[in-house]
């Protein structure tokens, strides 16, 4: 099976007077699993449809496997696609759903049979081959849709929110299955989702999009640990990152002033030279630590609400100046509403953003 890279150069897409994508560049390596992540309306599905050739572009080029396919028909691009609504052919059996495209394209019968058998084995569809889609569960239908994509032996597999119509448990199961499939085939996959968990678990790299622009393109770890701006920081991660407004002070040692508290920033990797300016401090709930009251970096906070989440507990607190934040603690934490806790914000786990531009400092 060939594995194609995808190269998108200054792509422009619009509908009427509306510009959806403008000058978008993206390079997907062969065998890579790339996730396009963003809220609805950010252009991620539009981008995927453009790669598939299902919508026309206004400008720019799309290269798949080194070939310029900007104006090629979808079937000639060496792609296969899986849709959110499964898009199975309802009056055809599972077997026919998978084989129909190949047989119309004139693929030899034994080759079709081999490919369908192989896909069915990979996706555990063997016992379902003669059923109609209406006789299958949602998860089975989506596996059939994936099977229909696999038999095309495409260079790139495109997934358009494939798990969004499934319930939470099936979603988790199928997510693992897709990840296993990628590990096994080593195929190039581009996967659109608005679910940051799917993105973090599946991706080799994530492209976080907003307003038709890729905000950050990086590994899941980097996206999670070092978001480049406040949008990425708030979109990725659940429970969400805490944001605490304040200012950066450079009186002697650089620090962050939030109300009456001063946090040392020794150990924070500034991108440029820090300046005295209003800023927003971001920290993920699991990076906040409990500490002793005589720790000089301790900040005291009042517990407002406790959310047990099974594996751990989310504790909602307020600082003296009324700023709210949440942090994660062991499930066996003996914390009650109204308690006063001493916490510290480790500088190396912080993210600082410019108050106006929202860019990482």
């Amino acid at each position: 099976m060939q594995k194609s890279n995808v190269d998108i150069r200054s792509l422009q897409i619009g509908f009427g007077g509306l510009k959806v994508l403008e000058n978008l560049n993206l390079n997907v390596e062969a065998s890579e699993f790339l996730v396009l992540l963003g809220p609805s309306g950010c252009g991620k599905s539009t981008l995927l449809n453009a790669i598939a050739g299902l919508i026309d572009v206004r400008g720019g080029e799309i290269h798949i496997g080194g070939r310029d396919v900007t104006w090629a028909e979808p079937k000639d691009r060496g792609i296969a696609m899986v849709f959110q609504s499964y898009a199975l052919y309802p009056r055809m059996s599972v077997r026919r759903n998978m084989s129909f495209g190949l047989s119309v394209a004139g693929t030899p019968r034994d080759e079709i049979e081999r490919r369908v058998g192989e896909a069915a084995r990979m996706l555990q569809l063997n016992s379902l081959l003669d059923r109609r889609p209406s006789e299958l569960s949602g998860g089975q239908r989506q596996r059939v849709a994936i099977g229909r994509a696999l038999v095309r032996h495409a260079g790139v597999y495109l997934f358009d929110e494939p798990l969004s119509n499934l319930d939470a448990q099936l979603r988790a199961e199928l997510r693992v299955e897709i990840k296993r499939l990628h590990a096994r085939l080593g195929a190039t996959m581009i996967y659109v989702t608005h679910d940051q968990i799917e993105a973090l678990t599946l991706a080799d790299r994530i492209a976080v999009m907003q307003g038709g622009v890729i905000q950050q393109l990086d590994t899941p770890k980097k996206i999670y640990r070092e978001p480049v701006n406040r949008f990425v920081a708030s979109f990725v991660g659940s429970p969400a990152m805490n944001f605490i407004p304040g200012r950066i002070a450079r009186d002697g040692e650089t620090g962050f002033i939030a109300g009456a508290n001063r946090l040392g920033l020794n150990g924070y990797a500034f991108r440029g030279l820090p300046t005295d300016a209003p800023a927003v401090l971001g920290i993920r709930p699991e990076h906040i630590e409990l500490t002793a009251s005589d720790d000089p970096s301790a900040v005291s906070a009042r517990v407002e609400m406790v959310e047990p989440m099974g594996a751990d507990t989310l504790i909602w607190c307020r600082l003296a100046d009324n700023t709210a934040f949440s942090f994660r603690h062991d499930a066996d934490a003996q914390v009650c509403v109204g308690d006063t806790l001493n916490v510290r914000f480790p500088a190396e786990a912080l993210s600082l953003f410019d108050e106006i531009s929202g860019q990482r400092l």
Binding site: N49, A52, G53, L54, E73, P74, K75, D76, I79, A80, M81, F83, Q84, S85, Y86, A87, L88, Y89, P90, R91, M92, F100, G101, V104, A105, R148, R152, D160
Partner: protein, 292 residues
């Protein structure tokens, strides 16, 4: 929870008129018709039982045989042509054409006309000395001939033309609703699979539209059975008896020819035919419903 006597009485009172209409008008009249067909009633109904004599006479009657022959031709051609033309119109409109609303209204317009008006319009259009043939000849196509309506062996096809013209718009509306119900992503999937458009319609879309086709076919079929006014307005059964239809046979014998026995025998024959066609379908439907 049991209903109180009071509310049960009011429920029965509310249903009573409809029930009476149903019993007296439909079942009563049908029963009376069947009974009349077994008597020798002429101008006025009587109760002289003659067994199946009227049916023997009916099937020895040339005009009835022609009527039955015509209704079969009309039924098969009308339903199949209206379904296919209506579907093709719907497909054409579904290609995201401009002024879709206007075109849709134009297609649907004939359906708002009564059969009598449709019949008259087409009578003029098909009339060799007034209509299409005349226009073609006046344009210089001297040899142009389109005289189906005055030739006995083709007159029934003129009814088919008018009927299809009138009903295709309705079929188009039903089909268009069906086509619009097809998931956009299925179309995308067929494009990724590289299926030619005609193939998508034939192998995927049409099989998905079973309900639309069934609805349209049922509506069209009722139109076939009660076909009467079109024949009256367009050809009045002519030339001769060439475009007679069963419903017209019944009406004529009931009121003009004062032969109630024969007319009711014809009507009963029509009823039995319809039941013979519909009953297996309903049986199949209920069986299917039970299996679910």
């Amino acid at each position: 929870m049991r209903l109180s006597l009071n509310s049960r009485i009011s429920a029965i009172t509310a249903l009573l008129p409809a029930l009476l209409v149903m019993l007296v008008v439909y079942i009563g009249a049908t029963g009376w018709t069947v009974w009349m067909s077994l008597t020798n009633s002429r101008m006025l109904p009587n109760n002289n039982f003659v067994g199946l004599r009227q049916y023997e006479m009916l099937f020895g009657n040339d005009r009835w045989i022609t009527s039955v022959h015509n209704i079969v031709i009309y039924g098969v051609l009308f339903v199949s042509l209206a379904l296919s033309i209506g579907f093709l119109l719907a497909v054409a409109i579904d290609q995201r054409v401009r002024a879709e609303d206007t075109i849709r209204s134009i297609y649907l317009y004939p359906y708002s006309m009564s059969f009598v008006v449709t019949g008259l319009v087409w009578q003029w259009l098909l009339n060799p000395t007034l209509g299409i043939q005349h226009v073609l000849r006046s344009w210089g196509f001297e040899g142009a001939t389109f005289d189906w309506i005055v030739r006995p062996e083709t007159a029934i096809y003129c009814l088919v033309i008018a009927g299809v013209w009138q009903a295709s718009g309705l079929v188009m509306a039903i089909m268009l609703a069906g086509l619009r119900g097809v998931d956009e992503e299925i179309w995308k999937a067929t494009r990724v699979d590289g299926l030619p458009k005609w193939r998508v319609y034939v192998s995927i879309i049409i099989p998905m539209m079973g309900a639309s086709f069934a609805t349209a076919a049922v509506l069209l079929s009722t139109g076939v059975v009660r076909l009467y006014d079109l024949s009256v307005a367009m050809t009045n059964g002519g030339p001769g008896i060439a475009s007679e239809v069963p419903a017209k046979f019944v009406m004529d014998h009931l009121f003009e020819r004062a032969n109630i026995g024969l007319a009711t025998a014809a009507a009963t024959t029509m009823l039995i035919t319809v039941i013979a066609v519909v009953a297996p379908y309903f049986y199949w439907r209920t069986r299917k419903g039970e299996m679910r």
